[in-house]
């Protein structure tokens, strides 16, 4: 009997349940529900609101990229606006100057940013914490000016930037351009989040987290910390670059001053609000940085950023570990409520 109880206890510890369902089952249920809502939403919304939701998804992908670097691997970046810009410009230049179809520019932007991120990650290996933050800050402030340089003007359009044409829905689908781009972005988002979830749960993901938590011990376990850290930079830049590429297509316009340091800080805000290291948190971060500035402006035009600041402080106060901790807390409370009612 004693042995059996032991086994039962082990099984319970291995698969905690919330309201009769295991955690993975809940995750699957919530994912499917969210996907159904995401698929149905644009059918009930005006084009402008669909466009805004598309931007939410794009920001979420960018924040996810930052989360892989900062939340999973423990490296800071104040320069992700640079990778977003590189992705956006890769797409704009390829579409405008070379007539490449928009969907083919996405992988190109991803690869360009992967290489750029990896190369930036190599010297960044020597920098830790705050020093890395400063180096990436330099990248963020330098990028808009580099894009304005007259030697690149033939491709980048200099200060004027590049206007690109919004693509129509393919195969004669009865969708507006905004709705089509929404579904296109949704498909990319699902792919990129699924890949990130797989990555984080894999051998590579464990090595990245091990480096974040204790680089010395990670080395002793045989993890090539230098290689993983620079590759993490590359993959993170790839995510943010693909987001930038989608952003260019959806907004139909790129210009140097759309990609300032402020954008990099917005990504960081989204990361912290969503929860550092929690992959789905990037979606909440995307919603936050898309809608909260608008909301603040509605409250007071003159003091919009002050209002934004107050909202931000309130959010951090209520959810000190971001939405990640909040979700965990609510799930725990619900579970206790349900088990006490039984």
């Amino acid at each position: 009997m004693a042995v059996r109880e032991d086994i039962a206890e082990t099984a319970v510890a291995a698969t905690p349940r919330f309201g009769g369902l295991t955690v993975p089952a809940w995750q699957r249920l919530i994912t499917i529900a969210a996907l159904l809502v995401a698929l149905a939403l644009p059918l009930f919304l005006k084009n402008f609101h669909v466009f805004q939701l598309t931007l939410v998804m794009i920001y979420s992908i960018a924040i996810l990229g930052l989360n892989l670097l900062t939340g999973i691997n423990g490296q800071f970046s104040l320069g992700h606006s640079a990778f977003y810009a590189i992705g956006a410009y890769t797409t704009a230049v390829l579409m405008d100057r070379f007539g490449v179809p928009y969907f083919l520019t996405l992988p190109a932007a991803g690869i360009v940013c992967l290489v750029a991120g990896f190369l930036f990650g190599l010297p960044a290996l020597r920098l830790e914490g705050l020093y890395l933050a400063l180096a990436t800050f330099a990248l963020a402030v330098a990028t808009p000016q580099l894009l304005k340089l007259s030697i690149f003007e033939h491709w980048t359009g200099g200060v004027q930037g590049i206007v690109i044409i919004k693509p129509d829905a393919p195969f004669g689908l009865p969708l507006s351009q905004d709705r089509w781009l929404y579904y296109f972005t949704l498909a990319i988002l699902v792919l990129m989040f699924a890949a990130a979830m797989r990555l984080v749960g894999s051998r590579t993901g464990r090595a990245l987290k091990a480096i974040r938590d204790n680089p010395l011990a990670a080395k002793a376990m045989g993890v090539d910390t230098a290689l993983y850290k620079s590759l993490a930079f590359g993959v993170s830049a790839l995510y943010t670059g693909v987001a930038g590429s989608l952003g260019a297509i959806v907004v139909q316009f790129v210009a140097p001053d759309s990609f300032t340091f402020f954008l990099a800080v917005s990504f960081l805000v989204g990361l912290v609000v969503g929860g550092v290291g929690w992959i789905p948190g990037a979606l909440i971060g995307g919603i936050f940085i898309m809608y909260i500035p608008n909301l603040a402006e509605q409250v007071s035009k003159g003091l919009a950023w002050a209002v934004y600041g107050v909202i931000l402080i309130l959010v951090i106060y209520v959810m000190p570990t971001g939405a990640a901790g909040f979700v965990r807390l609510v799930a725990g409370r619900l579970n206790r409520l349900m088990s006490s009612n039984r």
């Binding site: 206890e9 082990t10 510890a13 291995a14 905690p16 890949a195 990130a196 797989r198 990555l199 894999s202 051998r203 590579t204 993901g205 464990r206 090595a207 987290k209 091990a210 974040r212 938590d213 204790n214 010395l216 011990a217 990670a218 080395k219 002793a220 376990m221 045989g222 993890v223 090539d224 910390t225 590759l231 993959v235 290291g277």
Partner: protein, 271 residues
């Protein structure tokens, strides 16, 4: 102990080469000589205890073995091959695992994930195959999960497998470190003060565990330890250091009675 009662003695290399050979290792920090020509051999399947008062050079030697320090002269060879040309992250792959003096767990991860990182060198994958979740990679990872679970159960950590390590008691965290080192399937296990911070019963249990690990898995063990009772009860060979020099080497009973060792620990009586 006779050869017959030593199940792993058969694993000792036939060519007579020891598994680990430390020869004439010298380490200097600035003008200070931390290790001054240390030489000893560790045959496969044995447990070697490295003792000495504070500042004797035990930790310095340990850090040479895990390649954090490089000796200015001398050599350290493992299975006949020098390890000094290897960077620290390429020590695990040749079969040298370790634990840390003051716990070096991955705090934000669960027990099972910590242990799985220990198996990092046992499988191959990259960002691409892991992000796609290719079947071959997932199969290999499943095999590693199976081994990790076995070792977690072996160390009595089964019910804790899914918990974050950060909240566990100190002694339990030490066992997680041991599990993490074991899943690597090391030939040589380096234990840095494993008894530090443990209470009396836990130390006794640790002693039995160390011997069991050697007997069940045929793992050669080198431990650096302050706790004399533990060292003397588990070791086959004891090496005593003082001021960076080896002052004695031999069976525990002999080392315990060596005048140089007694003097090092108790101070020399002026006669």
């Amino acid at each position: 102990m006779s050869e017959a009662s030593r199940p792993m003695a058969g694993l000792a290399r036939d060519d007579g080469r020891p598994l680990l050979a430390v020869s004439d290792v010298v380490v200097r920090f600035g003008g200070i000589v931390a290790l001054d020509g240390i030489t000893f051999d560790l045959p496969a399947g044995r447990i070697l205890g490295l003792i000495g008062p504070n500042g004797a050079g035990k930790t310095t030697l340990f850090n040479c073995l895990s390649r954090l320090y490089t000796p200015v002269s001398g050599d350290i060879s493992f299975e006949g091959e020098s390890i000094l040309r290897r960077p620290p992250h390429r020590i695990a792959e040749i079969g040298i695992g370790r634990t840390f003096q003051n716990l070096a767990l991955f705090k934000g991860m669960t027990v099972v994930d910590n242990v799985l990182v220990g198996g990092h060198t046992r499988t191959r994958s990259d960002f691409f195959s892991d992000a796609l979740g290719l079947p071959a990679v997932r199969d290999r990872d499943r095999g590693l999960h199976h081994d990790a679970k076995e070792i977690i159960d072996y160390l009595g950590l089964g019910p804790l497998a899914r918990l974050p390590v950060a909240g566990l008691p100190f002694g339990t965290q030490k066992r997680v470190e041991l599990a993490r080192a074991l899943v690597m399937r090391p030939k040589l296990l380096l234990l840095d003060e494993p008894a530090g911070g443990l209470n009396h019963e836990e130390v006794a249990e640790l002693g039995r565990l160390i011997r069991r690990i050697r007997d069940d898995h045929g793992i050669t063990i080198l431990l650096v330890e302050h706790h004399m009772g533990l060292v003397m009860s588990v070791s086959d060979i004891v090496v005593a250091l003082n001021f960076g020099r080896k002052i004695c080497e031999g069976a525990p009973s002999a080392v315990q009675q060596d005048p140089a060792v007694i003097a090092a620990y108790l101070g020399t009586a002026k006669t």
